[in-house]
Amino acid sequence: MSAVRNYFTVIWKGIWTTLVGMRITFRHLFVPAVTLQYPDERMPLPERARNRLYVNMDDCIGCNQCAMACPVDCITIETVKSLPTEDLGVTSTGQKKRLWVTKFDIDIGKCCYCGLCVPPCPTECIYMTDVYEFSEYDRKDLIYHFSVLTPEEAEEKKRQVGSAEKGTASKKVATANQPQPAVSGTESKVAASSEKGPVTEQTGGANK
């Protein structure tokens, strides 16, 4: 007997649940659509939206923290020490800039938009904007060059520092052959910095 009852119950349930479902979909015919017609209507992004990176080079001091923090090594930074005579200015947070940033490349195609590069920056010059429409036709156009120095200027800076180092080095040799008063303080400083070499290439290395 229960097989017969089961048979009729299933039929009844089938009809009833179908009608319930139909009522739900019919009601939804009159619910306004939730679609935004892109590109005519765009969704407003919240202020914390994590999209394309931007670097404000006025504030960059070339500390390499962002490159070190990146998990996919998409930031490449090269800096050149500035001569004592040059004045690079001050960042908006009050720090004096001492390094020429000759190369600041971000491969936005490699970037995983994790935002790990933003907190370590001491001057808050790198941050994520809300720009998400930046497709390019060529992959190398996705490598953004933020450095404000042209390649020629970069070469010029490197040569300047190179010759300045050579000049101080020869002066050091010359003065080293003569007995001299205790001016070891400045000399050792010059000697120490010349050992590092004029150009420091710092890439985003993860093994720190």
């Binding site: 179908t18 479902g21 939730v34 992004l45 919240p46 914390r48 923090a69 998990p71």
Partner: protein, 372 residues
């Protein structure tokens, strides 16, 4: 009379199939219509998470953790940062704990919405999918307002969070809860209790409780078979022991215990329970600084830790070995979908080919989690 030759045929549900939830190849050995064996072939999405983790600092591993089970990345991060904090032996502020639980539960709802929606799509009901995704968008908006990303958050950091919740988060979450409760009812009416859906999923892919435990299944797959095991209750982590929620267990309402319908209803009801947890937590978030306990350099002492959490797919465990340096020596992730997928041959024996789709969909695997 001559003997009829019946040979078994090998079919391939290839890596590209609309219903395998990712790049999964299932090799079916069928005898006519009946499935004799179903062998999953995985590895199409292997991205060497564990090897990458050895080269990153502890902080940098978090974005990689996100990408394992990409549909519930908050939960992945949660397990990892809890493991690292256990290694470092640091206590995070209360505010961080509360926000983490809220985010994890919101993520659970979002992930179950995807599971339910795509399951309906596999069975042939096109509309619940859209309703589920419409509500999931609201959750993703909440996440975007907090940390800026919609899918892969990098939100939970060892020692705290990347951003504090914005001022409108609490109110928007409450509004979401209010709007979402009727949606669950609607989804149940439209999909779960629909007789055709019941006929397609009840008594299909029955997973007995002892088989589930032997295979190491976890999450809704295990609870659908009637086993009352939820890590948030049985091995509580973070502040889950403070909240009052029920562990949903399948009871065989529409068929046998442990069939596909049970796993589905466990997911639907877990969404309601997550709403309960969020309601309890959202009003009581204490004040504090979410970045107070974040160490400058994460350099745990030499040691190892295994920490497990309950993600929407099951038990996600992290086994971290530290050698004292800034990079972990080994990070192993015990992925729930990997273990749950191993059940597939066991539960699909004897059913029709047409049921394979229902069975695979009910285990709710994400290939990012299976292959890591």
């Amino acid at each position: 009379m001559a003997e009829l030759r019946t040979e078994e045929m090998v079919l391939n549900m290839g890596p590209q199939h609309p219903s395998t939830h990712g790049v999964l190849r299932v090799e079916l050995v069928v005898d006519g219509e009946v499935v004799v064996d179903a062998v999953p072939h995985i590895g199409y999405l292997h991205r060497c998470f564990e090897k990458h983790a050895e080269a990153m600092t502890y902080q940098q591993v978090v974005p990689y953790c996100d990408r394992m089970d990409y549909l519930s990345s908050m939960s992945n991060d949660f397990g990892y940062v809890l493991a690292v904090e256990k290694l470092l032996k640091i206590e995070v502020p209360e505010r961080v704990q509360y926000i983490r639980v809220i985010m994890a539960e919101l993520q659970r709802i979002a992930s179950h919405l995807v599971a339910v929606g795509t399951y309906g799509l596999d069975i042939g009901a096109f509309t619940p999918f859209l309703y589920c995704f419409r509500d999931r968008e609201k959750i993703l908006d909440l996440f975007e307002m907090t940390c800026g990303a919609r899918l892969l958050y990098n939100y939970m950091w060892p020692g705290g969070l990347s951003h504090d919740i914005p001022p409108q988060f609490v109110e928007k979450t409450k509004q979401f809860i209010k709007e979402f409760r009727p949606t669950i009812v609607e989804l149940n009416n439209l999909l779960t209790y629909n007789e055709i859906f019941v006929k397609r999923t009840a008594n299909i892919g029955v997973l007995p409780a002892d088989v589930a435990i032997n295979y190491g299944a976890s999450g809704p797959t295990l609870r659908g078979s009637g086993v009352n095991w939820d890590l948030r209750r049985n091995d509580p982590y973070s502040i889950y022991d403070r909240f009052d929620f029920d562990v949903v267990v399948g009871k065989g309402e529409m068929g046998t215990v442990g069939d596909c319908w049970d796993r589905h209803i466990v997911r639907m009801r877990e969404m309601e329970q997550s709403l309960r947890i969020i309601e309890q937590a959202i009003d009581n978030i204490p004040d504090g600084d979410v970045k107070a306990a974040i160490p400058k350099r994460v350099r745990p002492p030499v040691g190892e830790v295994y920490f497990r959490t309950e993600t929407p797919r099951g038990e996600l465990g992290y086994y971290i070995v530290s050698d004292g340096s800034g990079n972990p020596y080994r990070v192993k992730a015990r992925a729930p979908s990997f273990v749950n997928l191993s059940l597939l041959p066991e539960i699909s024996r004897g059913y029709l080919i047409a049921d394979m789709i229902a069975i695979i969909g009910s285990i709710d695997i994400v290939l990012g989690d299976v292959d890591r």
